[in-house]
Every structure is written in structure tokens, then in C-alpha cells.
């Protein structure tokens, strides 16, 4: 503070002394790093070797009698793999690229083994100090190979689970357009309810993956929250910028329904809006922007969902059944509803534009299934699920603030349609989720 005060006269020039103060901490830190790294063993001597840690991130079974474990050194120091076992029985194996792993390096342990479909297997890896790490696979299934046939199967699953339900939801567009203001609020808050459920679901799922498949070294649980928050605030910023730019450029192309403009306008003075005209413009542009953001958010979410479905098939955790697909389809139909709901009171949206939104929301499921099924990576899955969660919470915020502004003096929690809609939205998700 003293330095700043001293420099107030020449506001933008920084004195040498100030620079010195800015640099000193870095010099001290640098000196500490040099000292600690060079004198390790002198300053802080430890006779105890740090405990090794290995994460078996995934186990693949292949038809040619092979089990492949993907392992990563998640411990504090270099480790050497000494042995592999299946169900606690030692088997000959190979480790590629080599048995010694530096910190966070990974390797493939290949075990020739005649395995049986559907049976559980515990894969163990022993390090050179005799510590054994294991991973249980509940039901062995041959890993999908990246063939055209398998890729089209995943594409078909993605279409069923992602694109078709979202498109089905979009069909409700004309129906929602004809709703009264209260029922419209009901559907908007229903959407918010659906999305909150999806967001929480994504967070819980990524947490589960983080706990089961990722080593504590990744701090994956904090990563989830971090990624979700950063996504949320980034998207909030992006959407604000989009709305501002769009409202500057375009003329109002939305019919402004009287039904709720009368509620909102008298209240403008009390809101922190700069002028009534800009707010009016925002009102006009916002529904489509919100819908677009919802599509993007749901797209990110569905990408994560696709990853999870592909990975579940890869890891033999689920056998794909028609019932499962049907469950996902019903579950995701509500996502299409979420996209169209905010646009209900705007001018008629061209079908092509609706289709684009539907593809943005549903298409990533296919991509996710491919990546999850062929190149499963738990850390990528966790990150994408968290991004999806953050995106969804941004959408919920957008819907909330939209309803707040259009709902006038009544506020959000004063309207029973909103409360019922929100609760009903979550309930729908819960019930359809039981099918999955």
C-alpha cells in the first residue's frame, strides 16, 4: 500500500524500487527451489522411500485371448513394474513401452490369458518393492474394435440416445407456442428442473468415475468442481457478449407478446438495467440465444453421456440392451423440450434452425460414444462431464434470469407454476432415469 501511495503522482510509471519488490519473491522462490533440489538429503533427510502408487485406469479384454491393463504411475516417484497377475495368479506378461515408469507416465501391461465372457476378473500389478495394486472388472467383455461395423453401431446408439430424442422434443415447439403465460412459465421452469437434474447427475457421475478410475494424484474431485465453475462463468460471459453484440446489430425480429410485457415494463426502473430500450432489445434477442446456449450445453452434456456409454461398453460394465437404449431415449426426449421452451413466445423459428440446434445438442453423443468406446480415458470423461455440468448450470441461470425479468413484479418463487414446473422437471428426469 505504501508503495502505491508513493507513486500516485506519476500513476502509470513504475519505479525501479517497485519492480524490485515485485521481483524479490520470485528470486527467493527460485533460490529455495535450487537449494531444495540440489541439497535433497541434506536439508530434509528421509530414509523412507515414498510409497509407490499405480492406477490401473482401464482393463481391456480381446478375443485373441489377451488382457491388456492400462496403468499409470500416480505415485510421487519413479516405479518399476515387476509382475502381473490375473485373479491373484501370476502370469507371464509384457509391459510396453517399458517396465520403469516416471511420475505420471503410463504403460500397457499385456497378459496372454484365456478369459471367459461375463466372468469377473481382478487384474493385479506388482511393483519392484512387492506392493500389489489391483482392479476388478465385474464382467469381462471383448473390447469393441474400431471397425466400420462397430463405429456404425456406436453411431446408431448415438442417434437413438442423442439425436432422435432431442428432435422428438423439438416437435413440441408448435404446441408450446400456443401456451398461456402461466403454462409457459411452467414449461420453462420444468426445463430448468430437467437441467438441474442433468447437471447434478453429470457431477455425480464424474465423481464416481474419478473415485473409481483416477488416482488421488489427479485431484480429480476438485478438478470436477473447478472445470464446472470455469465453464459456467466462461459461458455466462460468452452468452452476455453474444446477446450484447446481437442486440446491437439486429433489429427486433420477435413479436413481443403483450401477455408478459405488461408485467415487466413497470418494473424496469427497479432493475439494474441501463435503459429500457436495451432491456427491451435483450428481451427480444434473448429467447433464441438462450435456446442456442441450451443446445450447446446439452450438446456438451450429451458428449459426456456418449463417452460414458461408449466406455461402459468398452469396459464390459453393461451389455447394450434395447431396454437401456429405450431408457436413454425417454430420458433425453426432455432435452428437446428444454431447447424449444424459451423460444415459445418468439417469432416462428425456421425448421432448419431448429434442426441445427437439435444436431448441436444431440450429435455429440455419437462422437462421445466413438471416443468413449474406442479410446476410453477416464480423465477426459471426467473433464467433459464437468464441462457439461457447468454448461448446464449456465443454461439454468439464463432461464432463471429470463423468467425473472419476464415475470415482472411477481418474482420467481412467488409463482406456483414455476415451483411446480421445476419440481415436476426433476421428477420426470428421476423417473425416466430409473429406466437406465
Amino acid at each position: 500500500m505504501e508503495i502505491e501511495e508513493g507513486n500516485t503522482s506519476n500513476t502509470h510509471r513504475i519505479s525501479k524500487r517497485t519492480i524490485l519488490f515485485g521481483v524479490i519473491p520470485f528470486i527467493v522462490i527460485g533460490a529455495m527451489i535450487v537449494l531444495l533440489l540440489n541439497s535433497s538429503g541434506i536439508l530434509f533427510q528421509s530414509s523412507i522411500k515414498p510409497l509407490p502408487e499405480i492406477s490401473i485406469e482401464k482393463v481391456q479384454f480381446s478375443d485373441d485371448n489377451m488382457i491388456v491393463a492400462f496403468v499409470r504411475n500416480t505415485g510421487p516417484s519413479e516405479i518399476t513394474i515387476a509382475q502381473a497377475d490375473v485373479n491373484d495368479r501370476i502370469y507371464p506378461a509384457a509391459v510396453e513401452p517399458g517396465r520403469t515408469l516416471t511420475r505420471l507416465a503410463d504403460a500397457k501391461v499385456i497378459i496372454p490369458f484365456v478369459w471367459n465372457t461375463g466372468e469377473p476378473y481382478e487384474i493385479g500389478i506388482t511393483t519392484d518393492d512387492g506392493t500389489r495394486f489391483d482392479k476388478l472388472v465385474n464382467s469381462a467383455a471383448a473390447a469393441p474394435r474400431p471397425t466400420v461395423g462397430q463405429a456404425s453401431t456406436f453411431a446408431l446408439i448415438g442417434t437413438y440416445v442423442g439425436i432422435i430424442p432431442v428432435m422428438m422434443g423439438l416437435v413440441w415447439y408448435p404446441f408450446i407456442r400456443r401456451l398461456s403465460a402461466n403454462k409457459y412459465n411452467f414449461f420453462l421452469s420444468l426445463t430448468a428442473g430437467l437441467l438441474v437434474f442433468l447437471g447434478i447427475d453429470a457431477l455425480l457421475e464424474s465423481n464416481e468415475i474419478a473415485v473409481d478410475n483416477l488416482a488421488p494424484a489427479f485431484n480429480a474431485q476438485i478438478l470436477i468442481i473447478m472445470v464446472a465453475i470455469v465453464t459456467l462463468i466462461t459461458l455466462l460471459y460468452v452468452s452476455q457478449r453474444l446477446i450484447q453484440r446481437a442486440s446491437k446489430r439486429s433489429k427486433p425480429d420477435i413479436e413481443y407478446k403483450k401477455g408478459y410485457s405488461s408485467h415487466s415494463e413497470p418494473d424496469l426502473g427497479t432493475r439494474d438495467m441501463k435503459s429500457s430500450t436495451s432491456f427491451q432489445q435483450q428481451l427480444l434477442i434473448r429467447p433464441i440465444a438462450i435456446s442456442m446456449m441450451i443446445s450447446i450445453g446439452i450438446g456438451l452434456h450429451n458428449f459426456g453421456e456418449g463417452l460414458a456409454i461408449g466406455a461402459a461398453v468398452l469396459l464390459g460394465e453393461v451389455a447394450l440392451s434395447s431396454f437401456l437404449i429405450l431408457g436413454f431415449t425417454l430420458h433425453n426426449t426432455t432435452e428437446g423440450l428444454a431447447i424449444v421452451a424459451p423460444m415459445a413466445k418468439s417469432r416462428r423459428i425456421p425448421v432448419a434452425k431448429l434442426m441445427i440446434m437439435g444436431l448441436i445438442a444431440g450429435g455429440p453423443t455419437i462422437m462421445g460414444a466413438w471416443i468413449g468406446g474406442f479410446l476410453y480415458s477416464p480423465i477426459a470423461t471426467v473433464i467433459f462431464l464437468s464441462i457439461g455440468a457447468g454448461a448446464i448450470f449456465q443454461v439454468v441461470y439464463s432461464i432463471g434470469s429470463w423468467m425473472y425479468h419476464t415475470n415482472g413484479s411477481r418474482g420467481l418463487l412467488n409463482n406456483h407454476w414455476i415451483i411446480i414446473g421445476f419440481a415436476f422437471g426433476m421428477l420426470i428426469m428421476y423417473l425416466t432415469g430409473l429406466l437406465v
Partner: protein
């Protein structure tokens, strides 16, 4: 309208990210395909199992030979090495056998290829040396504790209370001489009896004592087999099971024996944690002398099951040449290292075994004492008081 543009931009950005991530993941998973300079073959020991080639490292205790410099024991040497002690005679004519045992507990040795474990040892190996005497001899064993903890030697057999190695531990740097008369004849384990007993035994402080009857047993190709295990991750479950210290050792180093030659195995079980262990011989039957305390076999069988510290003598000979397996018929143990092979050869009357195999006490003095005293070299540091 700017929204389709946003959508397109979003699509492009998203695709780029996905492409980058998939490329990174894919290139990583196919890393090994790019480097094919060095190829090792592995697998394929078992019918129906594929034999594969790898550019990486092979992990296979059933075929990889442990580095003799870091190995916890040389199982081939241990197999037929009997230590008869330094001989002298007392005033009344009794044979006195002097042995020196050095306990240590700070060495880390290779117990299975690539696996290093802090073993506690008598004379630097697990199992400790096989001591051998004749019924009625006076046995004097000087224990030098070169370790960091109290240790002792508790012998099974008949001896006075103060020679039992239970109530008086030998302090680090300390020394004690156990003295007793070798009786009765049979096979006896010895082990450290300090608390916690489990810890001292599972780390490797045990071995075999053989007391021969005054009238020697019939001439035979004799060997010691001590069954043990290692709990290398301290979860009170064994990670490795062995006979004579190193898992699968006799799979890649089959024990060579002659057809129709009498084989005598002194078998002991010192396995910790697991309540029982056993020995099963393939394609043959053996006479089993429980505890080795009788000259008449107790059983004619192909499997014998033992609790910890139980032991006995097996006698058999092979009728046909070839490879024969022997292993624990607790298959878990067998598949975690307790498996070996006999290689039965068409008999030559003067086989190498004939020279090594010493059943008579008359001509062994030079051979055993010199060899035995070398064991002090195994202890790296001085400080023996």
C-alpha cells in the same frame, strides 16, 4: 443472423478439441507399434495360450532367471547343501559340531525377478542354512546378532529350557551359543522366536536342522525342500509362495535326477499366514516319514499336507525319464510360485549327484566346514561383537 454462425463456430471449435484429444489418446495407445527395433517373445508356456512378441519388457517369473547377485538365495545350491559344522571331539569322545549363525534384518534382496523385499536372514539367505548332525552329537550354535532388533534361534527337538531360544533374546550386536545334544533323529525346523513371532518368521528367519540316525539311512540323492512365502505388501497375505526361496525357480532350472535312483527329500513347511501347505509329486508315489523320526514310512502317497513347522522325509525314485512337475496342490500357491520340475535322466552310475550327495558322515568334514564358514562373507558390514 449470427446464430447459425455461432453454431458453426461452436461446431468447429468442438471438433478441433475432440480431434486433438483423440489424436493424443490414439497416438499414445499405438505408441508401441512405432518402435519395433527389439522384440521379445513371451507367453505360450501353457497350451492354448498365445505366444506374443513385445517391444517392451517381459514380466515372467516362470521363465526369467533372477539375478544371482541380488537373489535372496541360490535355490540350486541350497537344495543339496548340508552344513555339518566344525568338528571336534569332547573328552568323553562325543562329536562336537560348531556352527556360526549371523542374524541380520536390514538387507533388501530380490525374492522374485524384479521384486525386492526386506528379508531378515540367518547367514544371508532365506531359508537359512541347513544344519546337519548325527543323533547323539553335541551341537553348538553361536548366534551373532548383526541386526537392529533382538533375535534368537529356537530349535525344534529335545533340549534344556535355556537353550530353547524363547525367553532370552540376543540384543543387536550381541552373541550367544546354544548347546544341546542332537536328539532324536529326524527333521526339525529352526526359527527366530522373538515377538512379534509372525513378523520374525515371515521376514525369513528360519531353516532346517537334520539329525541323522546313528545307523545312516540308505544312500540316496538327498535334497532339502523348505516351503515358504513372502508377504511383500504387508497385508498378512502372501504375495509369493516358493520352495527353497525363489518362486518358480525349479521351473527354469529343473532339478536333475537319475532314473531309478533313490531320491530323499527333507521337506519342511515354514509358510506364514496360510494355515496349510502341501507337496504333490507328479507321475509317482513316495514313502512318507512323518517328522523323519521313524525308519518305517507312515504312508505311501503322492501328496502330503503340512501346517506351519510340520515336516517329514519323502523317498521315491522315477521309473521313466522325462520332466515331472512337483507343486503345492493348493493351486493358488502353485500359481504364485510354488511349482517346480524334476528332469529325470537315463541313469549314469557316476552322476554329478553322486559326488555332491553326502549321506555318510565319515568324509564330509572338509567339504562342509570350509563352505559353511564362508557364509560370514555374506554379511556386508562388520560390527560383529
Amino acid at each position: 443472423m449470427s446464430y447459425p454462425r455461432i453454431a458453426v463456430l461452436f461446431g468447429i471449435a468442438f471438433s478441433i478439441i475432440i480431434f486433438a484429444i483423440s489424436t493424443a489418446l490414439y497416438s499414445r495407445s499405438s505408441l508401441s507399434d512405432q518402435n519395433s527395433s527389439k522384440l521379445d517373445t513371451f507367453g505360450g508356456h501353457t497350451p492354448g495360450y498365445p505366444t506374443l512378441q513385445t517391444t517392451g519388457d517381459v514380466l515372467d517369473p516362470t521363465s526369467l532367471v533372477i539375478n544371482p547377485k541380488t537373489a535372496v538365495v541360490d535355490p540350486m545350491k541350497y537344495l543339496r547343501e548340508f552344513n555339518y559344522g566344525k568338528l571336534s571331539a569332547s573328552s568323553n569322545g562325543t562329536v562336537i559340531r560348531d556352527f556360526t549363525m549371523i542374524a541380520s534384518d536390514q538387507q533388501t534382496k530380490e525374492v522374485s525377478p524384479g521384486v525386492f523385499y526386506n528379508v531378515w536372514t540367518f547367514n544371508g539367505t532365506v531359508p537359512g542354512p541347513t544344519l546337519r548332525a548325527t543323533e547323539g552329537d553335541t551341537i553348538r550354535i553361536t548366534l551373532i546378532n548383526n541386526g537392529s532388533k533382538f533375535h534368537s534361534i529356537h530349535f525344534h527337538g529335545i533340549h534344556p529350557s535355556e537353550m530353547d531360544g524363547v525367553f532370552e533374546g540376543i540384543a543387536p550386536g550381541g552373541k550367544f551359543t546354544y548347546q544341546f545334544t542332537a536328539e532324536p533323529f529326524g527333521v526339525f525346523p529352526y526359527h527366530c522366536h522373538m515377538q512379534p513371532l509372525e513378523e520374525h518368521i515371515t521376514h525369513g528367519l528360519y531353516g532346517a536342522l537334520i539329525i541323522d540316525p546313528k545307523k545312516p539311512r540308505a544312500s540316496a540323492d538327498e535334497m532339502v525342500m523348505l516351503m515358504n512365502g513372502y508377504d511383500t505388501d504387508f497385508d498378512t497375505e502372501n504375495n509369493f509362495y516358493t520352495v527353497n526361496g525363489i518362486p518358480y525357480y525349479y521351473m527354469h532350472h529343473p532339478i536333475q535326477i537319475d532314473k531309478n535312483r533313490l531320491i530323499r527329500i527333507y521337506l519342511l513347511n515354514m509358510l506364514e499366514f496360510d494355515p496349510l501347505n502341501n507337496f504333490h509329486l507328479h507321475a509317482n508315489m513316495f514313502n512318507f516319514y512323518k517328522t523323519g523320526t521313524k525308519l518305517i514310512p507312515d504312508e505311501y502317497t503322492d501328496i502330503v499336507t503340512m501346517n506351519q513347522a510340520e515336516r517329514g522325509i519323502l523317498e521315491f525314485s522315477y521309473k521313466y525319464p522325462g520332466k515331472y512337475m512337483f507343486h503345492a496342490h493348493k493351486t493358488e500357491f502353485a500359481e504364485k510360485g510354488w511349482t517346480g520340475l524334476f528332469l529325470v535322466k537315463e541313469g549314469t552310475n557316476q552322476s554329478i549327484n553322486e559326488n555332491l550327495n553326502v549321506t555318510s558322515i565319515r568324509n564330509i568334514t572338509n567339504y562342509s566346514t570350509t563352505d559353511f564358514n564362508k557364509t560370514t562373507d555374506l554379511v556386508p558390514t562388520g560390527g560383529v561383537n
